[in-house]
């Protein structure tokens, strides 16, 4: 089944509460996807710096002294913030690709969850409540965020297979459904030089959007493209540095509900994920139309 939640804040005064609201929404969706959970959160960015979120199954070893060795490899200032199995590396801007190669050499078992000016992704196997606790998602602030509770259908129950997927700078995607042409599309995108690391169908969806945007599409145009080029069932909720988008396939058999007020735009697989949001009683609540793209920008 899978559960998706998303929250895009218009009202800056809610930003300190983003993690708290997102956690409630995520936990409510546990029975749609109890095998793993993840969130992408867009926090404050620092001018001239880039954030790379990494994950390791043996964090003590992998993160020990990582800031020092990476600083040396990049000849720049690097700081590290360790949160359970994840760590956020803060690097000089423009060093993302160099950091990817250096990390592959310095810590071969480590996975890169996301990279960009403001995005951080945290995801693990386990009940959504436990996953949110491990990373103290409640304490996080930001301008928008996306969460997912997974019931695996197309690939294994692993951290690698959990959502959100990030295949481009400050981009992420969560998905409810299953894609049927992901193998063919993965081969095509890889030939185009797009980085895809897992066997998961959703990662191909994310990579498709990245590829479209790298080739000049706006987020809206890239989302329109999914209706032509992706086969299968999908509700996609995507994040970019300053945007938030939603698209459903033409058959639209996966549930979705949206709400908008002056303060926020919210997405949930079910209405009950939205019931504790402020002012939901008076919000505009609707079911997104099939084959229709919705997006918002800051």
């Amino acid at each position: 089944m899978c559960g998706i939640v998303g929250l895009f804040l218009k009202d800056k005064s809610l930003e300190p509460k983003l993690g708290d609201m997102l956690t409630d929404m995520l936990i409510t969706m546990t029975d749609r996807g109890p095998d793993s959970a993840g969130i992408a959160i867009y926090g404050a960015d620092t001018a001239g710096r880039t954030k790379v979120t990494v994950q390791s199954d043996s964090p003590d070893e992998a993160f020990d002294g990582l800031d020092g060795v990476l600083a040396e490899a990049l000849s720049g200032d690097v700081s590290i913030r360790v949160i359970d199995t994840h760590a956020v590396l803060d690097l000089p801007a423009g060093k993302e690709e160099a950091a990817r190669s250096a990390l592959a050499e310095l810590r071969p078992g480590m996975r890169i969850m996301s990279a960009g000016d403001s995005i951080e992704i945290y995801k693990e196997v386990g009940l959504p409540e436990k996953v949110a606790e491990r990373f103290d998602v409640r304490g996080m602030s930001g301008s928008h965020g996306i969460g997912h509770t997974r019931m695996a259908t197309e690939s294994a129950v692993t951290t690698e297979g959990a959502h959100p997927f990030s295949t481009g700078s400050d981009q992420c995607l969560v998905h409810n459904g299953s894609l049927s042409n992901h193998n063919a599309l993965r081969r095509r995108l890889k030939r185009e030089g797009v980085r895809i690391e897992s066997q998961n169908d959703t990662e191909v969806g994310a990579a498709y959007l990245t590829w479209k945007m790298q080739n000049g599409s706006t987020l809206g145009e890239a989302l329109e493209g999914t209706l032509e080029d992706l086969d299968g069932f999908f509700n996609f909720v995507v994040g970019t540095k300053d945007g938030f988008g939603v698209v459903r396939d033409p058959i639209a058999c996966k549930p979705a509900v949206m709400a908008e007020t002056d303060q926020y735009v919210a997405f949930g697989s079910e209405y009950r994920a939205l019931v504790n949001l402020p002012g939901i009683e008076d919000a505009k609540v609707w079911e997104p139309e099939p084959a229709t793209v919705y997006f918002w920008n800051h």
Binding site: A252, C253, P255, V257, E270, Y271, R272, V275, V285, P290
Partner: protein, 227 residues
């Protein structure tokens, strides 16, 4: 009037209390507060009780209803009044997918819009939607009436049998074997009654009728040699 706080007292207690009212109790009017989008509220009711839900519900509200009147003062998730046998279900807001699916009797009224697959495989239920409906509505509809005051989405009545569809607005497309049909006096009568019972402010003459061309499901004896 009995008031039941769903958040405080739980779903199982609510449904067993309502299902036990088999006509022997005078506790016939119930109000459910704090539904908060919960699933399976007021399902399997089998006596003429009146239940009002004060807020929006999740999946399968008022499913398998018999005799009861369930009113939702909010919107409903997928599968409202699924397989209803009799009674009445009224939704003030919108309904998500497959509202009234496989319903065998009774009246479902949706005052807002219904999304895709409303009345799919309907088998005798009457459904009145004051707003619009989405795609694939009444797919394989066998009996009953689907009345839409607004517009219908793609593939209305695909592969339908003898269900009748009355649409006041536009129809994006008709499904396989579904055609527009003549509105005869008996249809005006059916529609007049349904609109009145659903509290709908519309004139029967404003509607067009659609239904099966009966080309898809009939065994044609002239083709017997081909089988």
């Amino acid at each position: 009037m009995q008031t039941y706080d769903l958040e405080a007292n739980g779903l199982r207690g609510l449904n067993s209390a309502l299902q036990e009212l088999n006509g022997s109790s005078n506790k016939t009017a119930w109000e459910i507060v704090n539904p908060k989008g919960s699933h399976a509220i007021a399902v399997g009711l089998n006596s003429p009780v009146e239940v009002t839900v004060k807020g929006s519900t999740g999946y399968y509200c008022a499913g398998m209803n018999q005799q009861a009147t369930v009113k939702v003062e909010g919107s409903v998730g997928p599968g409202v009044a699924e397989n209803m046998m009799s009674g009445t279900v009224i939704v003030d807001g919108d309904a998500s997918q497959y509202a009234g699916a496989t319903g065998q009797g009774g009246l479902l009224v949706i005052k807002g819009n219904a999304s895709s697959r409303c009345g799919i495989s309907m088998k005798g239920i009457d459904i009145v939607v004051h707003g619009n409906i989405g795609h694939m509505c009444a797919f394989m509809g066998q009996a009953g009436n689907l009345v839409v005051l607004g517009d219908a989405g793609d593939a209305l009545g695909d592969s339908c049998y003898e269900a009748r569809f009355f649409v006041r607005g536009s129809v994006k497309s008709l499904g396989a074997d579904c055609i527009e049909k003549e509105m005869r006096p008996e249809h005006i009568e059916i529609l007049k009654d349904l609109l009145a019972r659903a509290g709908a402010d519309a004139k029967p003459e404003e509607f067009k009728r659609y239904g099966s061309a009966r080309q898809l499901y009939n065994f044609d004896v002239d083709n017997a040699q081909a089988y």
